[in-house]
């Protein structure tokens, strides 16, 4: 029976993932600017950008259909639901019975599908090329992600995130090489999914190699704001996912574990996000963008690592 506390905790989580996502994006930008010895925009700049976009008129191309109008909301909704399912500061919230890893991968897939269709809707060449590349990358990133899901599910005996978190927290795993391989694979997939630097450059509108930006070329005003917000929430969701699977330390076991445990979980989650975002910023600053046709090899590496992780699991357990 979902009591008031459960609903409150779940609501808090849903508000926090949306509220903090632009701050996270600002933080990554700040880290990168710092590495480049620039001062960089304020941490609050992504909020200002979103506000500015929301207050502007949304322009659509003349031949845009209902797909163009609804896609931004579908994308945002799918990503938000996925983010709400992932355990952040506490496991065992109301929605977490549905927090299956495969469901989360599916929700991200739905968001990607909506955006790719919207990119092709107006019929400009940029949108089409962006959608085609996005699908190329997705067809490589998803198998890699599924191999990781298999590995982790084989460990924990379940693909439900909440039980995985419980299993890792109970110390059921220890240091396992295949878990390390899965971590690297998931990091590569996360970089590709969030259109970060070696795969795609989130800060450009001018390159012929752009993927994500090419798809959203036709959007403006509140539509663009929704897409930008969804991208930010997606980044936060992926970092939370990595934190939940591989570093679930400090997470509160459930909404009924008391105020103290929740506060500790919240602080631990914020610290983990800050560390992961800093690592992301440093990684992005230290590497050059790949040619688009090199990216399949990069993602193929993630797939190989995922397969290796599964194989090693069988080695250490015996067939």
């Amino acid at each position: 029976m979902a009591g008031l506390i459960d609903i409150f905790a779940q609501g808090l989580e849903m508000l926090l993932v949306v509220g903090l996502a632009p701050l996270l994006v600002g933080w990554v930008r700040k880290v990168k600017a710092h590495v480049f010895r620039r001062r960089g925009p304020s941490l609050l700049q992504p909020y200002r950008d979103l506000l500015r976009l929301f207050s502007k008129d949304a322009l659509l191309a003349e031949n845009a259909s209902w797909i163009s109008r609804t896609a931004p909301y579908v994308v945002f909704a799918a990503v938000w639901v996925a983010a709400a399912l992932i355990p952040t500061f506490a496991a065992g919230l109301v929605f977490h019975w549905a927090a299956d890893l495969i469901a989360i991968v599916g929700l991200f897939g739905l968001a990607r599908f909506a955006l790719a269709v919207a990119g092709m809707d107006v019929g400009t060449s940029f949108g089409g090329i962006g959608s085609s590349r996005e699908m190329l990358l997705a067809s490589l990133a998803e198998p890699a992600m599924l191999m990781v899901v298999f590995t982790i599910s084989l460990f924990a005996g379940s693909s439900q995130l909440a039980s995985i978190v419980d299993f890792v927290l109970a110390g059921g795993i220890g240091i396992r090489p295949s878990l390390g391989l899965a971590l690297v694979a998931v990091a590569i997939v996360a970089i590709a999914e969030n259109a970060r630097i070696p795969v795609d450059n989130p800060a450009t509108h001018l390159e012929l190699t752009m993927v994500h930006e090419a798809m959203v070329f036709e959007y403006s005003g509140r539509h663009l704001a929704m897409i930008e917000a969804a991208a930010a929430v997606k980044l936060l969701a992926w970092l939370s996912l990595i934190a939940a699977i591989f570093l679930p330390f400090g997470m509160a076991p459930g909404p009924h574990s008391g105020f103290g445990a929740m506060a500790v979980g919240l602080l631990a989650w914020l610290a983990k996000l800050a560390v992961l975002a800093t690592l992301l910023g440093l990684f992005e600053a230290s590497i050059a963008k790949m040619r688009v046709f090199r990216v399949p090899e990069f993602l193929g590496g993630a797939f190989a690592l995922g397969v290796l992780a599964t194989v090693l699991l069988f080695v250490s357990r015996g067939l």
Partner: protein, 220 residues
């Protein structure tokens, strides 16, 4: 025998396997040599962990040999050879990276499937080491046959030998004499191959081994 060095040995063996994939993936000679040096360093750590786990002090000598000879001396010499040959550019591959990686995965699974049923009575660590070692040996072979450049073939060969050492130290009670003689034979092989490389270059102005095939009249 405590748990931590078994975990460490297992981790190092896994990392060696990952580096074997890096050798397959890497398409520049300098990167290839560095990856080989990394693998040798990991081998040294794995052997040292085994030495601690098995309480066999002579394995520390093996670890030291691996680190000094294969982790430092051979990579440095290879870097010099590559510079003097003037081939520090891209490697030509016979088949593409993606296909090679898929072959590599298949070969790894084959190694695991072969080793696991055979070694059911052995200790867990020995089993894993044997599986990884066989995979590394096969991946070294794959590196050798997927490259045309003679220098990268040499590196594939050396990486294969790393796998052999890993297998040998995983089994209990390998005598030091065997280990030392293997290390020296590798060194001798390296010197012979080094001289051979310069001979090939002198004759054909390239270290692409397909030049040899053409010379023998096997290719049009």
């Amino acid at each position: 025998m405590s748990g931590i060095d078994i975990e460490l040995a297992r981790l190092m063996a896994t990392l060696m396997l990952v580096v074997s994939f890096m050798l397959l993936y890497q398409d520049r000679l300098a990167g290839l040599i560095n990856a080989y040096a990394l693998q040798s360093g990991l081998l040294a750590l794995a052997v040292a962990a085994q030495a601690h786990a098995q309480e066999a002090p002579h394995l520390y000598v093996t670890a030291l040999l691996a680190l000094v000879v294969k982790g430092l001396a051979i990579p440095l010499a290879l870097h010099r050879i590559v510079l003097r040959l003037g081939v520090h550019r891209e490697i030509e591959k016979v088949i593409g990276v993606g296909t090679t990686m898929l072959f590599g995965l298949a070969v790894t699974m084959l190694a695991v499937l072969v080793v696991l049923p055979v070694t059911e009575t052995a200790a867990a660590l020995t089993r894993e080491d044997l599986g990884f070692a066989l995979a590394i040996v096969l991946l070294g072979l794959l590196t050798m046959i997927s490259r045309r450049n003679a220098v990268s073939q040499v590196i594939g060969f050396m990486s294969l030998e790393n796998g052999l050492i890993l297998a040998a130290t995983g089994a209990r009670g390998m005598p030091l004499v065997v280990e030392v003689s293997v290390a020296f034979s590798i060194l001798i092989a390296f010197i012979v191959v080094g001289i051979f490389l310069f001979r090939i270059r002198e004759r054909f102005d390239s270290v692409d081994v397909h030049a040899l095939d053409r010379f023998r009249g096997e290719l049009p």
